[in-house]
Symmetry: C2
Subunit: 372 residues, 2 copies
């Protein structure tokens, strides 16, 4: 029996089911981890980067959820699963609620145990909710200026995902030293290659040699996989998988919320999924893509990415500038006035203010009060 659309306005269960069968169902699993200090004072432990609007008008976690929604050709994004810190529960629900995002599940981690545990949780929860669905695991705090191209890369990767854990490789725009690199091997399918090697963050010379050589892309930490395959490939880190499984089993459920068992989860080994799984599996694949990706890891990067006025100033919030050029100025609930300054970062919230040359953006962590 062939899938056909249900009659408009009717609840044509069978037809809907069969139409869905024709699609590749994907759970976006949004990792709202980290409490980065690199864009303090906007980002704080209470409200890290993903809960702020950096590029667009919505917070990054909302943008991430909206980016992976709806039906696109053969793929269908299900309502997302969010894995977040327990302390950010209310923020997640408030912000995603603002954007009308319905959650399949909200997994609340009592503490951060790194991305291997998160990937295992993603696979286990997705498997429980819909054994036939795939997982697209993505951080909540990245910018993607061409989301359609990323969805197209997901579509392409879907052709190999039954037997591969796919990582998306961002086409490098320069010899960046703050990302890991992926070296691609033979072609598996249109837009998907085997992985020859995962490379640690290189120094500048090595990064340049990668670009000169070609076939390298940035590891953006976005993964696409069949849950049962991911769980199998935890064979060298089975303790993490079983720890995650136990923390889930002993956790408390409340509607879509899953509160992991704190004592159990605290014992889970903290390891990046790249090390626990990706560098060991022989079933990795890379889908290189050029999607306007940025992780906005510093104020200077945000200035570079931002729209600017005629004087080169990237201004957001409430601000008055006089005789000032090439600054990033951001007033969050606070008015910022600047006179006669250039190449500065000026970020103000109601709690704290940061002033520095853009060139010192990597030193922010040294001046956060209460941190050593």
């Amino acid at each position: 029996m062939q899938a056909c659309p249900p009659a408009l306005g009717t609840s044509h269960g069978t037809a809907i089911w069969e139409q869905r069968l024709a699609k590749t169902r994907i759970f976006p699993v949004i990792m709202s981890g980290g409490s980065g200090t690199r864009i303090w004072p906007l980002s704080t432990q209470d409200r890290p980067k993903q809960f702020h609007a950096l590029g667009a008008g919505r917070s990054m976690i909302e943008e991430t959820a909206l980016r992976f929604s709806g039906t696109h050709g053969d793929i269908e994004f299900l309502d997302p699963i969010v894995i977040a810190g327990q302390s950010h529960r209310d923020l997640v629900l408030e912000l995603l609620g603002n954007s009308g995002v319905k959650l399949s599940a909200l997994v609340l981690e009592p503490e951060g145990r790194n991305t291997a545990a998160t990937a295992a949780l993603a696979a286990l929860v997705a498997q429980e909710l819909d054994p036939g669905a795939l997982v697209l695991l993505a951080p909540a705090d990245h910018l993607v200026s061409r989301p359609k191209d990323l969805v197209a890369a997901v579509s392409a990767a879907a052709r190999v995902v039954s037997d591969r854990i796919v990582v998306f490789g961002i086409t490098p725009s320069g010899p960046e030293t703050s990302y890991g690199y992926i070296h691609q091997g033979e072609r598996l399918s249109d837009g998907v290659h085997t992985v020859t090697a995962f490379k640690e963050k290189p120094d500048a010379a090595l990064a340049q040699s990668y670009l000169d050589e070609g076939g390298y892309s940035w590891n953006a930490g976005i993964f696409f996989f069949r849950p049962s395959l991911m769980l199998e490939e935890f064979e060298h880190a089975a303790d993490i998988r079983e720890g995650a499984r136990a923390a889930l089993a002993r956790g408390r459920r409340e509607g879509v919320e899953i509160h992991l068992d704190p004592a159990t989860f605290a014992k889970v080994r903290s390891l990046p999924v790249d090390i626990a799984v990706m560098e060991k599996t022989r079933r990795a694949a890379v889908a290189p893509c050029d999607v306007g990706w940025a992780d906005v890891g510093s104020w200077s990067e945000l200035w570079r990415l931002s729209d600017k006025d005629a004087g080169g100033n990237a201004v957001s919030g409430s601000a008055t500038l006089l005789d000032s050029a090439n600054n990033l100025v951001r007033g969050e609930g606070v008015h910022v006035s600047a006179i006669g300054v250039s190449d500065l970062v000026i970020v103000a919230t109601r709690d704290a203010v940061l002033v520095m040359p853009r060139s010192r953006a990597q030193d922010v962590k040294k001046v956060i009060p209460g941190q050593s």
Copy 2:
């Protein structure tokens, strides 16, 4: 009958009265006018400069009240009269209350009508409260680092005040162009001279010529007078005196508070007392003094006056500085972090932030939001 101190712990009315008779009784009259924008964002219309601590730990209006209190040789300061804007009533009472200052009167102006009206009010209210007392009329928003020397100058001036309106002349520390100058004439008494001329704010060359010539001092707007003499010398601005008198007579009294009649006070001509009285009277005198006076008319001046760390940074409030030199940094209820900046003013409140080189301090008014 000779004055003698009252027995300790007794209420020896007659003796106290006679002891007081032996002293020159002076009402400090504190002018809490103005809503200067020169040290925005600290100073705002709601809370102008005099209600902030700039030099010491107390607000400037408290410092002013405490400066002119107690008994000093032959002079006795009575509880002050404060003349303030109606909208600042609560702030005046709260701050002076914090410092235990008791008020003789609080005259509330429905709107500012300049210093001639204020001087007339000062004379009229003082006369009403104690016909034998003198008036020391002083702005609430000046710093005086050697208050004892100022009190000594008041003592010296007391010898001529029955027949003179005395203005205190600040020994110039440089050819400042932002103050009026007073040229002194013949000596009247120790530390008191006639006034040859009041000079408008000069340009730099003229200011330098005043310093080269000698006998010039800055007009700090601090006046000392017998109320009845001041009222007589309003002969060329009698309308202002009578307007003030009518606004008082029609005003509302409530404890020490005198709420001037708004309709009447609105009609009073707005003129500085310097023009209305001082430039016309033949009974002006100047008491030159070197008392560490400053009106703190800009952020750069405050930096110059402030204690600094080894790097030349004048820091107040909560701040973290790294590789930064010769800045003024002030966090009011907000933490300020700065990296690698020099010669800047960084002032942050919970409402607004100002960043500029110290050399641009005169341009602050151009970047205050909501002002044209």
